[in-house]
Symmetry: D3
Subunit: 244 residues, 6 copies
């Protein structure tokens, strides 16, 4: 089997660490690492919903993704300085929000809003997938906070499942899981897969960076992704003290 | 077989029309309709490349997507008035650009830039897929324009393949092709598939709007998409007068 | 008499076409052509008025003008990408709004808002005058839509007159009507004239592009403009099926 | 003859004052008053032209208009705070620039740039016309400064004429000259007229604020405007010490 | 004793002039000069407070600082044109607001808002200190206006003290008061001191522009500043007709 | 002696921690804590200087400060989402930059640029002083990085001194050092003091939040600040392995 630069096998995740409750300010938080990629996820719980949702008996979950200017190998100008948010940032923020909402029963949440901020402190590939995986932990804690404060009904099941995400790609013809920057930049095909704890797809995004790909390659990447997300689920459960 | 509101079978495209050369100003253009969805695609050819690409012997193809304020059933505020481009617009512009670049040999293009503008004049679902499909026709004509003007080498093969895109989704459990707005808003799973003329994937984006989906559903949607794109390819060839 | 590049006499309009009801989404619409200039005008009717007008028993009519990036011979950057609206766009939007309001009895309209969007799909001079002329048709239909929906009182006369606009200019000393781009860019004096169906002035804007002009020249341009607007009125009536 | 609120006859200007050289920093400047309207006009002379004009042997004159937030009876939010320039500001800046360029021979100016800033310190109607009239004085001095510094050729005649502007309007059926705010807000028709020292038109902008107007009314306003500008020319010459 | 370029002694202010009531529109105003530095200060009084303060029985005083583009020796681009306010402008606006609020009893003001605009018409160093000193005069008049209109209680003491500001700096080792631009740009240490009429500090901002400074130098600058502010207080009282 | 809520004496710093080299990407970095306040400081070294400084033989050091949206007790909207940087952010960024430049010999640095990013991950008062103190450590390492890469001359002494900063304030009449949020919000007078390793002042900013203050209070705060900075210097030296 192909050996990767960091010694992993093609179907192996990088070392995963989830530091739950990193923030003393947020209602839920997690500092998650996928190898050298580090993302701080905080969940802010507010009683009430945006005006357009008022009175419908449903809550709202949304997310914002951003990167510190020197998270990457070369410094990027701040989006606040540019005066506008780039397309990539928008795209990832929307992806994280959709992924989380896929496992939230907004009726059970009640008229409460949870905003998840995913700030990349250090970037080495896979920042969006680490963000989704960590955001789930922060979200779970924020919901429990809301329950303790009686904003969320005692027995309502707000989370219908867990959710995690991982990247996969084809490098020199070999499908590989969880790409660091050095692999990501060489991948012919790049895929991000968001999978629930029950093993169902929430989002599948495959892009031909080099040559277009066929069904067989797509299937190989999906299989890697589903397996990777199952492992990430174990890390999430462990962080939340729910393993069993 | 399930009958759809507009009388189509689940695997049938809406009526497709491609009015090639709609614009008297652009180097390439097409007004494309997928049913009531109408997108004006213009290709602007410029000799030279952006500064960051200068001197590398390669060209550049990029795209911008936008919607007229009253393309939709309710009027949307203009992005120019808001002073910023929304996340959805950014996301689709990037998708169109990637799709087109997947079939362009930028070395063969030489140091030339082609900007494709896809402006939605009327929206009824599938605007991004119509945009990609029409943009290919505009792009092909702009490349020929560049060849006639001697900016592109006489025998260089700039286009390595054709490219088209279509949506598919699961509605009431049934996989269906090319969703108009009324279906799209009800779909449990929504997929956009970008396929080359040779039948390879350029981009696969599947999203669970309602319940997460499994591998079998994903495969059904992919199959519909590949067939739909093959039909769209025929329309493209006909419009370009290349059939045979 | 001087022959123009396109064979017209100095006092002749370009071929005028008004495709009423082009949009299947808007409450009123018209795709208008003045020769190669094509403007899509849509009217969006909303029951209710902006907050500052609430409770005064009066309606509101406003307009927004914009140009597709490749409407012109060279591509222009989108105003949404620049992040701001240019002075020319602002100026023309305001002009169209004033022109339409001059023939609307806002009391008779009741507390309803009509926003007219004029998007230039192709530009060859005279875009603002085509926009006003087409906008009147879209506006008339939107008012009738409001009447059918009972938002506008059955017998109230909302439109007090019709309105049309045309350009005129002096080229090589000869006053000429309805200038295409090639003439407009050579004109010494450039005038836009907005005239009601009864032949009264709503707006007169004359600008010395080259040499300042005298009263005799001004009068010649005004006369051309009044005659041109009378012809445009016939086209409007025909499009609306009101000719007699 | 109708008596106006401030005691003037219909064809009388408000008291005009031009304080030439108000600024100790600018190459040319004038603080101009039309009654209570006060505009500070400064001309900034720079050797060289914007990039797009380089090497063509011609200079550039442009203008920017703005209003202090409390120039008016109620405070307006600053455009810098809003983050964008309003349509009215854009429109007036462009008008002032065109008016000045109409009397400048840009070849005689040589490759030099003059930016005229017109900042309204106090507003009581007619700010754009006061701005044009004062800007001419600032411009004339800046050109002389450039001549002294040898940036402008000794004998070149940069100014081909003088230029001034005034408003006129119809109030209760009576054509009146130079409207203060209280009259302007009541005018049925509002006109701004820009006239050269030789009595030729540079710009004529007439707008029906209430009822559309006819040719006779238009002529009456034009006549008032031409006479008013002739008087303003005397004030300009006096300020510049050129009378007689 | 060191002689300065303009003939002053190190502890001498530039000629101070305060033209109270310069604006005919604002509820309070002052055109203040510190030598060639001229700042127009207007105070806009509004009955009511921003939403976040409603119902707390307290008023609000805030300030905005700006500079005309040609107030300085070289023209600066307008912040409205740039589309954003610079850091320096923000910083000074906040400083002026804090300085004024330090002498206002917001309970005594009642639920009223006063916005002070300080627009620099000509700049020669010390613009922020002139702005604070003039703003106090405009503020005092606006409060009296509010009292006359019965928005402010008859006997309430809104102003608890007066406030003035001045700069000081060390040049060639010598502490000097009230620096014009030519001295300011050479100062090793630059200090702005805001002092109440009773001689207490509201704000002390000392910055090492060149070498860091020691306690002895700091004390010398503070002493100059306190003395300078005492003199400015006399000018303020004279302008307000309160001397005695 | 007064006991503080967290048990400190009035002249005691909060627990200080400096994690040098936190970032694997930046040329210098430090994660600094002042109690619960945590700031990530990264220094980005670039060979070359901004255009306006080119060819002068001098380098450039600048800083940007920002706060994560949920660094504070309530979530703040991102400045990138607002589309503009707030006054407070601007002010602090400028302060940090000035503080660092005060101890840098830009000639010795050579034509190199160092940008320091200070991102507040968690905020509990004193974020700007923690930022300056941590930024010095990141800066020192970035300079050494530049020396190793031969961008900085081997023996040049770029840092002329060290620099640290701390806050002090008067609470219930007692001067106290290094205020957390709960004290800062109650302080009558608030001071930020930036002091070099040799004990000289770089910046002194004292503000009366409540009552104005006198010279005696100012002196007490300065003394606390100087002592606090001396202790911070020890932490900096320890982190840099320079103690002794």
């Amino acid at each position: 089997m192909t050996q990767r630069a960091d010694g992993r096998t093609p179907d192996q995740l990088r070392p995963i660490a989830i530091e739950r409750g990193w923030s003393g300010q947020a209602e839920g938080s997690a500092l998650i690492s996928f190898g050298e990629t580090k993302v701080l996820c905080t969940a802010s719980f507010t009683n009430g919903v945006p005006r357009w949702l008022t009175g419908k008996g449903r809550g709202w979950v949304t997310a914002e993704y951003a990167m510190l200017p020197r998270a990457t190998n070369e410094r990027n100008q701040r989006e606040s300085v540019k005066g506008r948010i780039g397309g990539r940032t928008h795209e990832i923020s929307r992806l994280i929000g959709r992924a989380l909402r896929a496992v939230v029963d907004t009726r059970a949440l009640g008229e409460n809003t949870i905003v998840i901020d995913c700030d990349v402190l250090q970037a080495d590939g896979g920042t969006r997938t680490a963000a989704i995986t960590g955001a789930y932990v922060a979200l779970a804690d924020a919901i429990e906070w809301g329950r303790e404060k009686k904003f969320v009904a005692q027995r309502s099941q707000v989370l219908t499942d867990s959710v995690a995400a991982v990247s996969a790609g084809i490098i020199d013809g070999v499908p590989m899981l969880d790409l660091p920057y050095v692999e990501d930049s060489r991948a012919e095909t790049d895929m991000n897969i968001v999978v629930t704890g029950r093993g169902l797809f929430v989002e599948v995004q495959g892009t031909a960076e080099g040559a277009p790909f066929d069904k067989r390659e797509l299937d190989a990447l999906l299989e890697l992704g589903v397996d990777g997300c199952a492992q990430l689920r174990s890390h999430q459960l462990a962080a939340l003290g729910q393993e069993g």
